[in-house]
């Protein structure tokens, strides 16, 4: 394995012999059983596989929510595998955005406050944050909904808020975990178009899904099974 800086290869993510082992009583569960791969900057990946194939673990690891048992993970030029909880939080805050199947908005907060959340932790002041939240809401087509609460929105609208929130910190990589799972197909399609649009703007997008139709939006499809890569398809 050649240890080149990722940026020279135009890579943004690289896993080397990545292992994630869960201790289940006496048994060991190899959620990731030695995965080596790299994602190019600005690519759109779909991670596929049946449940238990390790795709969620993959997403948690890549999203810096979890740490490898062994192996290495580089995000741009950072060796993520050596970082502590604080540094991982910092990475998520500055470089990553998340969109979840169940939207994961904070129900007590207005749309604006939800979108502002990453900016709050980035230390932006209230006025700048509000302006940025307004722009992002406009971008995802929710300009008039800033002062509504998530409970007053439809599923599609909630997911748009989630996308706007994921974009607030201008992330390098956006992770989408079954982003259309709780939406009807028409609304789901709109969210996917939104992701396409973001990908065209140069964002790297990593989407976990088990539906082949949805995975087709991604230029690259990583099929996983039993914690290892089954195959990789590319358009």
């Amino acid at each position: 394995m050649v240890d080149l800086p990722l940026t020279e290869n135009n890579e943004i993510i690289r896993l080397e012999e990545a292992q994630k082992i869960y201790q289940m009583g006496v048994q060991e569960l190899h959620a990731l059983a030695g995965v080596t791969l790299s994602f190019k900057k600005g690519s759109f990946w779909a991670i596929m596989g049946p449940s238990g194939s390790g795709k969620s673990t993959m997403m948690n690891i890549l999203g810096c929510l979890d740490r490898l048992t062994s192996g290495r993970y580089f995000l741009e030029d950072t060796d993520v595998s050596s970082l502590d909880d604080n540094a991982l939080s910092e990475l998520r805050l500055k470089y990553l955005g998340f969109v979840f199947q169940s939207f994961n908005l904070i129900p007590q907060l207005t749309v604006q406050r939800n979108i502002e959340l990453p900016l709050y932790y980035l230390g932006w002041d209230a006025i700048r944050s509000a302006r940025r939240a307004g722009e992002l809401a406009e971008e995802v087509g929710l300009g008039g909904r800033l002062h509504h609460r998530p409970t007053e929105l439809s599923g599609g609208e909630m997911q748009r808020v989630a996308v706007a929130r994921a974009l607030a910190n201008d992330p390098q990589v956006i992770f989408a975990d079954e982003p259309t799972g709780n939406l009807d197909s028409a609304t789901g399609e709109q969210i996917l178009e939104l992701l396409d649009e973001l990908n065209k703007q140069g964002k790297t997008i990593i989407m976990v899904t088990h539906e082949p139709d949805i995975a087709k939006h991604a230029g690259n499809r990583l099929h996983m099974i039993d914690g290892v890569i089954d195959r990789i398809e590319q358009n």
């Binding site: 948690n60 939080s89 998520r92 805050l93 998340f98 908005l105 007590q108 959340l117 932790y121 980035l122």
Partner: protein, 422 residues
């Protein structure tokens, strides 16, 4: 910049607390009552000690009061008709006390008699106090009209009297006050002054003056009324010879009061065969009263402290429940990039906002209670700045202490698990 961030954090905390109005209110309740009772307790305690000081001021903190009492054996034989009880302090005693101690600044002899006092058709029984001008130094009271007794009255043995405000109102009524002649016993006295009087007890010592006093020179009292008092009680007659009923002594310095009192006691022991006097020291009483009050305050304080503790535990309980309920929110915040300490801070600020708000409300209630106590029981209550700020400070501290555990609990939440939490 740094400051605005602090305010923003606090503001967000307040917003979060306001999102659950009823729950927040119920959570605060413990602190509300805790702080309320602490404030009330402090003001009652403060009032009590101020009241004690007030009483001591009436007695004079540098004073020693020596009073004549009937000794036990005398009490028994006095049922005999022909017997005359002779007891108590003598003119000699006063002279000796005044001369023997360098610490003593002033002494005042006191001779007490009850006499019918009249002005035309109005009459009432007054307590005649035969004393010297020093009385008015030892028992300082505001002069309402005229003057107090003067050494010249003493020298001339002038039949002049000083009335108290109460006595003046009863006896003189609408009459021309100063210069009026009244009859005390059978003799005429000219009113030369009117003073205010205090009344009541301080500890277990009677305050030297009473409302129904009339002050005359001791020489005059002796000449007109003598030393023997005849008491008629239900047909039987008893006679008592008491030269002085009290001797008031003022010592130069508070530190010397107790030593001087002990000295006086020792000296009197030598000259009196029977124990027919009592030496009382207001200062000692003050100290005793203070000690009692301190115990009282400690008891009250512990009760208030316990209610604060319960309030704090209440907050902790609700905050822990809130952390569980908001696990998903914590997960979202962590996924977005919030560090553990930012989660700790968020929950801590919310708890402190709750407890401090509770503290402020409690302060409102707590300042009301003393008014009610004063209104209904007449007990003196005093609100001090310390009595207000200390409970507020305590309520903030409670927020931090009892908020810390739930906040740490929140920060330990694993974002992956939390995001799946329903």
């Amino acid at each position: 910049m740094r400051q605005t961030k602090v305010f923003r954090n606090i503001w967000l905390g307040i917003e979060n607390v306001l999102m659950h109005k009823l729950r927040s209110f119920l959570t605060m309740l413990g602190v509300v009552f805790g702080v309320g009772s602490v404030v009330a307790m402090l003001s009652v305690g403060e009032g009590a000690s101020k009241e004690a000081l007030e009483q001591i001021r009436k007695l004079g903190s540098n004073n020693i009061i020596i009073s004549s009492v009937k000794s036990a054996e005398e009490e028994q034989t006095s049922t005999d008709h022909s017997h005359m009880s002779i007891y108590g302090l003598t003119y000699e005693d006063q002279f000796r006390i005044a001369e023997s101690f360098s610490n003593i600044q002033e002494t005042a002899p006191v001779k007490l008699m009850r006499k019918e006092t009249r002005l035309r058709e109005r009459s009432m029984e007054l307590r005649v106090v035969g004393t010297t001008p020093q009385w008015f130094d030892l028992v300082p009271r505001p002069i309402i009209a005229g003057r107090v007794l003067l050494p010249s009255d003493q020298d001339k043995q002038a039949p002049v009297a000083v009335l108290t405000e109460f006595g003046a109102r009863k006896i003189l009524a609408t009459e021309n006050t100063i210069g009026q002649t009244i009859r005390i016993g059978g003799d005429e006295f000219e009113i030369v002054g009117i003073v205010k009087s205090e009344s009541g007890q301080a500890g277990n010592i009677q305050i030297p003056d009473q409302q129904i006093d009339v002050y005359i020179s001791i020489e005059v009292a002796r000449k007109y009324f003598g030393d023997i008092e005849v008491k008629r009680t239900s047909g039987s007659r008893s006679m008592e010879k008491v030269e002085l009923h009290q001797v008031l002594v003022r010592v130069d310095n508070t530190d010397n009061v107790e030593a001087t009192a002990a000295g006086i006691e020792r000296m009197l022991e030598r000259f009196h065969k029977k124990k027919d006097y009592i030496v009382s020291v207001p200062l000692a009483l003050l100290k005793q009263a203070e000690a009692t009050k301190r115990t009282f305050n400690i008891v009250l304080g512990s009760i208030a402290g316990i209610s604060l503790l319960v309030g704090g535990i209440g907050i902790m309980n609700i905050m822990l429940a809130s952390v569980t309920e908001r696990t998903r929110e914590i997960g979202i915040r962590r996924a977005i990039g919030a560090k553990r300490r930012q989660i700790v801070l968020q929950f801590l600020i919310e708890t402190v906002v709750l407890s401090t708000t509770g503290g402020i409300i409690g302060l409102g209630i707590g300042t009301l209670i003393p008014f009610l106590i004063t209104y209904f029981s007449g007990m003196m209550t005093v609100l001090t700045w310390a009595g207000v700020l200390f409970p507020l400070f305590i309520s903030m501290t409670i927020g931090i202490v009892f908020g810390l555990y739930p906040a740490m609990h929140a920060a330990r939440v694993d974002p992956i698990v939390a995001l799946r939490h329903e």
